[in-house]
Symmetry: C3
Subunit: 361 residues, 3 copies
């Protein structure tokens, strides 16, 4: 029953720990994932292991017998998707991941029609959900909520794992996973994810995907990071401090075209104006030079890739979509596969899947 | 095809019958449940039988082979959950019950996006649902609607069973089932549900769960009932009349601490201010002495239990949650198992499940 | 991979083609359906073939082994139901059709909680959905959107089929399918769908089901069409032009009782006041003579049938419901079976299902 260690520590103590130390409490005893709360839980070994599992799953899923095998893996478990913040993309990829593994699912999407209006506390709500399900996938606008709910559940009679599908402006760990998986996959037959230059461009201040990916890249050897943004949206100092501390090489710039030739990967992001503190705050910033079109494509190395977490507005011209270096649609589909791998690992199916893959492919 | 007798009687005649007489029309020919409309359908024998089935199901569900067996029971049927009144708890436990038995499900939760706006009658809507599904689980704010729909369907070309998941202020029969199941289970190794004192506390006037449970308890031998509430929220006279008629011993009180020592079970409820006739009506009532905290816990017999239909506000202090007598989280999970048992019985799977249990455990 | 031909043609060229010519681009290479966009895709041979398949499916579904066989047909695929326009009927029958074939489903019903608010284009949204699913069933208030999305997907890296479940005021092809299927089934043991008179009554101007059915009936030999409506809601001239061109016999009338004796089928429709251009526009029209009650029933041939696409208001009296000629409830259930047949055909299961039927019935 005691599958992991989060029991051993009071909430206030846990909450105050640095992310790296927290991570130890969130793992299964075998080092695999139990709760998935923040990108910092994943080191290079675990990322490579998840990518390998995702590769096996997508190969197995190509055959009809394979889909039946995958659907038998977690068909005895049920997942609850609690999405109080809108996100069709994350929602649909998670529900697909569950279905691929045979999990049954239920949804609470519009919390106004839930029983929360009866004055129940969030802790009670989450314990309710845990009464009926075996996994909770949650997305909320509140910072730290997934973490608190994981602690609450782990200290209840019926601990079940939580996957953070985005909590407030800080963490969206499975988005970071799919980004890393896309990079690993793109470079796997070309020397791997090392000695590369990754260019981030757009709203680097408020995009949580950039923060998480920047951190995860520090796990890999000699990855240079270049941050290209209009001044008011440039990457936050705390991200750079981490890079400094880890001895990672980086640069800041406001000239996309100038840095594109150096890039192995260009990671475009959209202006996150939903976090504007005053109306029209973002609209007053000149972002016209932070878009990727045919001119930028012409400057890009033939072996580099273009990424975007999607949804996009006009940061990447649709004229770029047909180029083989445009990786963002495959990146989105990668999200489904890496989430499938994550859930498979949470429920201890990693070895069965890898065995099946070895035996059949 | 003629599985039950509701055909034989016109709606107005049926509607005017006393609940006890109506019940005969709602059963399968073998005496098991067809439509589930009100708590009064369940006598002691049927309650014990459902509890036994629920016990078997939860034991079977502990093994992986068992979950597969359960999922094969009703996998050829599909259920429609029609929830026009919000309730995440009841909704999620029903959807879980369906999934445990392998039923496919579909939901209509927000009726504003249904085709009702096109001016269709409720009878036509329900016949529509029955065209596609094999079971309707419905929750509505309208008194008597589930009953009328059951009559309508039974008199259509395609009769299918209805389960009332809460209709207006009057009936919520599966909540009463889970309450009785929790009591049966709590006392099953200690002489059973007889010669006990049950204390009800809180908003007894408007909580339909209390009304139903009070009635169901009259099925069991020598169960004393004590009603503790502020004067304006005390139990309604018609409930007491039934107890009088059945010769059940009861008392009314406004002093929770005074009666706790006598209790085998304390059933706490929340103030149902959503039924307030004027704004702030409930807020003007002093409910401060109708809460269960550490002081009340100290007065409670070591073998008694604390129940609550949930969601709670502050009627039970979270400090009580860790006490082994706090039964409300298990009570909620019992709801999933007893609903699974009910659906299994409706679809005639009772004997197959009990046989499997005998053969494997 | 190149299963159909829509790749070969630019959007603007495709869009400008007449419907009959477009249809060739929407088929599988073997002539069966790939995208389902408009009623005009279906000729008599294909309609008969779908009806035969639907008959086989409903027969197979009567046995428990049969339901398991059907659920194995498309259990390796997942469908996305994108309903940005309310419709419980179409929604529930499609979800049922998917479940009958074992498909997993996910829904996006309220687009306000999707990520569209982040400024994503519809093309990007649909490519997102296609990343995770194998079929998109879409209903939107926008004319031509399903068509455009089908073209977009077919020209993407990951083409998947689209089924139009109603797009704006123009097309609702699966409604037309179920209407034809009901007619074929009603007359199949009585000489088939030929030499018949079909009376349409109600709001013929704005009901897309009438437009589609009128067109599909031109596929069958010697079907006379009579249009009965108040003047402002009479059938549009372009429909009559098609009948003229095809040499189909028809008449217009404002006297329902006068034409009922000639009818083999009476197709009643409701006033579509949701399309009113000004408030109360429909209410000012006298529709009192365009309803079907006991008086009309008395005039109807004993072998004729009464149809209605539902939902109804008062166009058909509930007193008519019990008459064996009232076909509208069966018509609705036919919708589930013909949609199941359509999806089975899209995924290439037609022959396996017909083989199973021949072997077992």
């Amino acid at each position: 029953m005691r599958k992991h260690n989060i029991f051993d520590i009071p909430w206030k103590t846990f909450q105050a720990l640095p992310l790296e130390e927290k991570s130890a409490y969130l793992a299964h005893r075998d080092g695999t994932i139990y709760h998935t709360l923040f990108a910092q839980q994943f080191d290079e070994a675990l990322l490579e292991r998840l990518a390998l599992l995702a590769n096996a799953i997508r190969a197995i899923a190509k055959t009809r017998a394979g889909t039946a095998f995958l659907q038998s893996q977690v068909c005895h478990k049920r997942a609850m998707l609690y999405f109080s913040q809108p996100s069709s993309r994350t929602f649909l990829s998670f529900i697909s991941a569950c279905q691929i593994l045979g999990m049954k699912t239920a949804e609470v999407r519009d919390t106004s029609i839930s029983s929360e209006f009866k004055g129940e506390s969030k802790e009670d709500s989450i314990r309710t959900f845990s009464s009926y399900f075996d996994l909770i996938i949650m997305r909320t606008p509140e910072k730290g909520l997934a973490e608190q709910m994981a602690w609450t559940l782990s200290n209840s009679d019926r601990p079940i794992p939580i996957i953070n599908a985005g909590s407030g402006p800080d963490q969206h760990p499975t988005q970071a996973l799919l980004d890393i998986y896309t990079l690993l996959r793109s470079f796997e037959r070309r020397g791997g994810l090392r000695d590369r230059t990754v260019v981030f461009c757009g709203d680097l201040l408020r995009g949580r995907t950039v923060r998480s990916l920047s951190y995860l890249l520090t796990n890999f050897s000699n990855i240079r990071q270049i941050f290209v943004a209009p001044e008011p949206l440039q990457i936050a100092p705390d991200v750079l401090e981490i890079l400094d501390k880890k001895g990672v090489s980086y640069a800041c710039s406001n000239n996309l075209q100038a840095v594109i030739p150096e890039a192995d990967a260009v990671y475009m992001t959209r202006i996150q104006d939903e976090w504007d503190k005053s109306k029209g705050e973002s609209a007053r910033i000149d972002t016209s030079h932070f878009k990727f079109g045919l001119n930028e494509l012409a400057l890009l190395s033939p072996r580099a890739i273009i990424m975007h977490p999607l949804p996009r507005r006009d940061e990447i011209s649709t004229e770029v979509d047909g180029d083989p270096r445009a990786m963002y649609w495959r990146q989105m589909r990668n999200g489904m596969w890496i989430r499938t791998a994550l859930i498979a690992m949470v429920f201890g199916c990693e070895h069965a899947i890898l065995d099946y893959h070895r035996a059949n492919f």
